[in-house]
Amino acid sequence: MSSLHTISRSPDSSLLDTCLTVINDGDALLFIEDGAYHATSQDLLATICSSIQVYALREDILARALLMKIHDRVECVDFQRFVELSCEHDKVISWF
């Protein structure tokens, strides 16, 4: 069963690092709140397995002025799509 992982703290936390050690193929990542800053981590994002879709919440990206800086792999989504992604995956795992 696949999971949608939400990450809600900045890279100053170890949330994403730890998440990536237990993530499964076919899971997805969604950066929300201060997690939005991960969307600009060029080095780290390049290492994430290609079977894992990477999203960031548009509202949080816009508020923080990150739109022009985000990595190619990151797709901006709104809350409607956040809800849809929650349905497409079998569960949601929140990292906070």
Binding site: S8, E33, F79, F82, V83, K91, S94
Partner: protein, 129 residues
């Protein structure tokens, strides 16, 4: 789909309670069912009806209240988290002689069993903290 949402964060000190609210609004707007809201830990502060907010700011507690009322949602405040934080309903206010309830009556104060029940009976349980 049947969603339940768990809120661990107090309003204002973090963005999480606001994220949870917007997720709830969005799920309902898309026709999903909200089986239960569960306020836990500092999250119980979202149920305070004593909040007063400046005109240019949004009143999160009131928005939760209005959402719950409008959609007739099942909303639970964890009793063990709530009463030590001063979030009490009328019956507790009476029992402990506190004068008045601080919690909106649109939420019910109950135990953690309601959270596990939500985990069992929802298709998706989403945590915000």
């Amino acid at each position: 789909m049947k969603f339940s949402i768990v809120i661990y964060a107090a309003p204002y000190s973090s963005e999480s309670a606001a994220s949870a609210l917007r997720f709830a609004q969005s799920a309902l707007a898309q026709g999903h069912e909200l089986y239960r809201l569960f306020f836990f830990g500092d999250g119980v502060h979202n149920a305070s009806k004593l909040s007063v907010v400046a005109q240019d700011e949004s009143n999160l507690q009131q928005q939760w209240h209005e959402l719950i009322q409008e959609h007739n949602l099942d909303s639970v405040i964890c009793v063990s988290s709530a009463i030590k934080r001063g979030i009490v309903d009328q019956s507790e206010a009476d029992r402990y002689d506190l004068g008045v309830a601080s919690a909106y009556s649109t939420s019910e104060i109950a135990g953690l069993g309601q959270l596990i029940d939500a985990a069992m009976h929802s298709d998706r349980l989403v945590n915000f903290g």
